[in-house]
């Protein structure tokens, strides 16, 4: 039987049941490994993990090495959700037929993707797997850019960020499109549990991960994953940049249950201005030129409006 693991403190979390090896090729300061390790430590159940092509995948399974001390599969850029869904279907079939080696051991199925493979190229596979109701958790490591290939824009890249395929220049403030609301889209699938989380709020993230694994059916978790290389900040500042994201409400933390009930899970005591978050990163540096002041103003307005929307949704309880 699967039980929710009790974790008292950060030290206990960080040292319990480590199945993600420290030897990997992720950049110093990359938040991916923090999120992945937390997931793998938050449960003692067996894990079948899939990854889309991306930073996590290319940094953890370069033959003849692997960082994964559990079952892991990578097929392509777009299909981690379907890969783990196929494994989950096989688990059900073999459990029914009695061909599993250890039929009583609890098994959880988890897929990881970056925002490029989740918001863009793998969206169809994710949508299909969630619609079919497979019992799995999909975690998007959202660094708002195709970081693995050197910083091209994705549909998660926010307006005003400079990316290599939407660079800021003499006549451009960079990315023109708004970030896609994938959390809302996944909630609209009617998934039993959808949440947005951040590694700086580790207890909140732990609770969401454990809720996800305990939930029967498909779960979507969107995790902000600060990218030292493409966001352009000092590798030691990963958590403090993430603090700025959550405390400015650029990246609000909330959950949506059964596609309806929305709960805000973190309310900053002191809400900081959005420009403090933007100003801490090289990718938004150009927005502080006088000619792009209207983009900065628009940013604050949009974040305020989104926070207002989330609060009203929470109050409405519908």
């Amino acid at each position: 039987m699967s039980t929710i693991k009790k974790i008292k403190n950060l030290k206990e979390l960080s040292t319990s049941n480590d199945r993600f090896e420290g030897a990997h090729l992720l950049c110093p300061g990359c938040a991916h490994s923090i999120i992945v390790r937390e997931l793998m430590n938050c449960t003692d159940d067996n894990l079948v993990i899939s990854s889309n092509t991306g930073c996590l995948e290319v940094s953890t399974a370069v033959y003849p090495y692997t960082s994964w001390d559990t079952s892991w599969i990578h097929i392509g850029f777009e299909n981690a959700a379907t890969a783990v869904a196929g494994a989950e279907a096989m688990y059900k079939a073999r459990k029914r037929k009695g061909t599993l080696k250890d039929p009583d051991a609890p098994v959880k199925f988890v897929a990881f993707g970056g925002d490029g493979s989740t918001y863009d190229i793998g969206f169809q596979w994710l949508s299909g797997a969630v619609e079919r109701g497979h019992d799995f958790t999909y975690i998007c490591l959202d660094n708002e850019v195709y970081a693995n290939t050197g910083g091209q824009r994705s549909s998660s890249t926010p307006r005003g960020a400079s990316a290599t395929t939407s660079p800021a220049g003499r006549v451009s403030y960079g990315e023109k499109m708004m970030k896609k609301d994938l959390v809302g889209i996944m909630a609209a699938h009617g998934a039993p549990y959808v949440a947005q989380m951040a590694p700086n709020k580790w207890k909140d993230m732990l609770k969401k991960m454990q809720t996800a694994l305990a939930t029967e059916g498909p779960v979507y978790l969107n995790a902000i994953s600060a990218c030292t290389t493409e966001w352009k900040f000092d590798p030691k500042d990963t958590i403090s940049i993430t603090d700025l994201a959550t405390d400015s409400l650029v990246f609000p933390l909330y959950e949506i249950i059964n596609g309806r009930e929305l709960n805000i899970t973190y309310r900053p005591k002191n809400i900081i201005p959005v420009k403090d978050y933007l100003g801490a990163q090289g990718r938004f540096k150009h927005l502080f030129k006088p000619e792009w002041k209207h983009i900065l103003d628009e940013w604050q307005k949009n974040v305020d409006a989104q926070w207002e929307y989330l609060q009203r949704r929470e109050e409405a309880k519908v």
């Binding site: 067996n46 079948v48 899939s50 995948e57 290319v58 399974a61 370069v62 033959y63 003849p64 692997t66 994964w68 001390d69 559990t70 079952s71 892991w72 599969i73 990578h74 097929i75 392509g76 777009e78 299909n79 379907t82 890969a83 783990v84 869904a85 196929g86 494994a87 279907a89 096989m90 688990y91 059900k92 079939a93 073999r94 029914r96 037929k97 061909t99 599993l100 080696k101 250890d102 051991a105 098994v107 169809q124 596979w125 949508s127 299909g128 619609e131 079919r132």
Partner: protein
């Protein structure tokens, strides 16, 4: 436990239903599928088996063919029997994952009901999709009729899952001509069919947590080449296993399969080399050419398109003076794929028959008995004169002025 089907000694099934029945008898653990004409009835047939309690595996109706093969890969890596079906555009959409399935050595069985590739959009049969799969690292078996579609499915599971092989395997049949034409089929009972294939033996399964596995690792210039070379060796090493499984099947059923089929080749002067249903028509015409025209005609048909039976083809054709390679796919700026394979086999031999490449049947255009007679007559003229009477590549059954290329 799944219900057993009350199998009659003779059933009237089309190629699609024959394939679906073989899949049911294999007691597949996971089918992840997406329907596409003309293979849709395989998926529908399997779905009906499920809803009537004849199947106790999982059936995952996904949102595209790419996802179908992706689900098959994930399922197969989790250590059970996996199969699906597709055609044409769906096959093209799957191609990325076909390479990943073979690279991971997952013994998935894929029924490919051959259909033309767009554009222009066309639902009828040709071999464009089969040729698209030829470098994908899969074993490709070709059925010429519905009975063979049934038999080769049973054979495919046994070959693919053999521990010495562990490669995904396609079973091809021609769209509509085989897939939608009901014929008398002599099936095995459920028990006999299943015991021929045997229980699935997991290898490196993701659900054995005492031995964690990493599937789909990355290799660059340091290791990629060695892996691909090993994969090539594996597919070539499948040849004796295929031969052995064919022999076991003959012992069980009396029905004989060879990696290259030969008909009336003992004393043939001229031969047609073809794939799919064309083989059946060519056999009939060859007999007639012998009886009415005195032409010693024969037919050679690769049953196994991959691994290509290079030496068997050379042996089968070593005594003919002229032969025709029939390619049912747009050659798009080259000689046909079958021509190239056969010509390379013959070039390595001691005899050098005259080889002509006929392009035919694209998008379901009928290849008539008359057209095959004309080909045999041209081969006969080539054989007698010792040189080609036409160009190397000719288009058959095409409206407008005759198209021919290459001196």
């Amino acid at each position: 436990m799944a219900e057993k089907w009350d199998i009659q000694e003779v059933e009237v099934w089309d190629g699609n239903f024959a394939a679906a029945q073989a899949m049911r008898q294999a007691q597949i653990d996971v089918v992840a599928a997406y329907p596409i004409t003309p293979s849709t009835p395989i998926v529908e047939g399997y779905a009906k088996f499920l809803s009537d309690g004849y199947v106790d595996g999982e059936f995952v109706m996904v949102e595209s063919e790419h996802a179908a093969m992706s689900g098959c890969v994930g399922a197969a890596a989790a250590g059970g029997r996996v199969a699906t079906a597709t055609s044409s555009q769906g096959f093209a959409l799957m191609v990325e994952v076909l390479y990943q399935a073979s690279g991971m050595r997952l013994p998935i069985v894929l029924n490919v009901v051959n259909r033309a590739l767009a554009s222009p959009l066309n639902v009828r049969g040709d071999h464009g999709d089969m040729y698209l799969g030829r470098d994908s690292g899969w074993i490709q078996l070709d059925a010429f009729n519905a009975q063979e579609a049934y038999d080769l499915n049973l054979i495919a599971f046994k070959v693919a899952e053999d521990k010495a092989v562990r490669l995904p395997t396609m079973v091809h049949q021609d769209g509509f001509i085989t897939s939608h034409t009901a014929q008398n089929i002599y099936p095995l009972t459920d028990d006999v069919a299943y015991s021929f294939i045997g229980d699935y033996q997991p290898v490196d399964e993701m659900l054995d947590f005492t031995k964690p596995v990493t599937y789909g690792a990355q290799t660059e210039e340091d290791w990629h080449y060695e892996h691909k070379a090993k994969q090539h060796k594996a597919i070539l090493d499948s040849r004796p296993v295929i031969d052995r499984v064919f022999a076991e099947f003959k012992e069980l059923t009396g029905r004989e399969y060879k990696r290259v089929e030969s008909y009336m080749m003992e004393d043939a002067d001229v031969a047609i080399v073809a794939l799919g249903t064309t083989v059946e028509t060519a056999k009939m015409v060859a007999k007639e050419m012998r009886e009415k025209d005195g032409i010693k005609a024969g037919v050679v048909a690769p049953r196994c398109f991959r691994p290509f039976p290079f030496d068997n083809v050379r042996d089968a054709l070593k005594n003919v003076k002229a032969l025709a390679c029939m390619d049912r796919s747009s050659p798009a700026g080259a000689l046909g794929a079958l021509y190239n394979e056969v010509a390379s086999a013959m070039y390595s031999g001691d005899t050098k028959p005259l080889i002509t490449n006929y392009i035919y049947g694209l998008g379901g255009r009928d290849l008539t008995v008359e057209a095959i007679k004309d080909i045999y007559k041209e081969l006969d003229a080539n054989a007698k004169s010792g040189k080609r009477t036409g160009k190397i590549q000719q288009f058959v059954g095409l409206r407008g002025p005759k198209l021919e290329y290459f001196e």
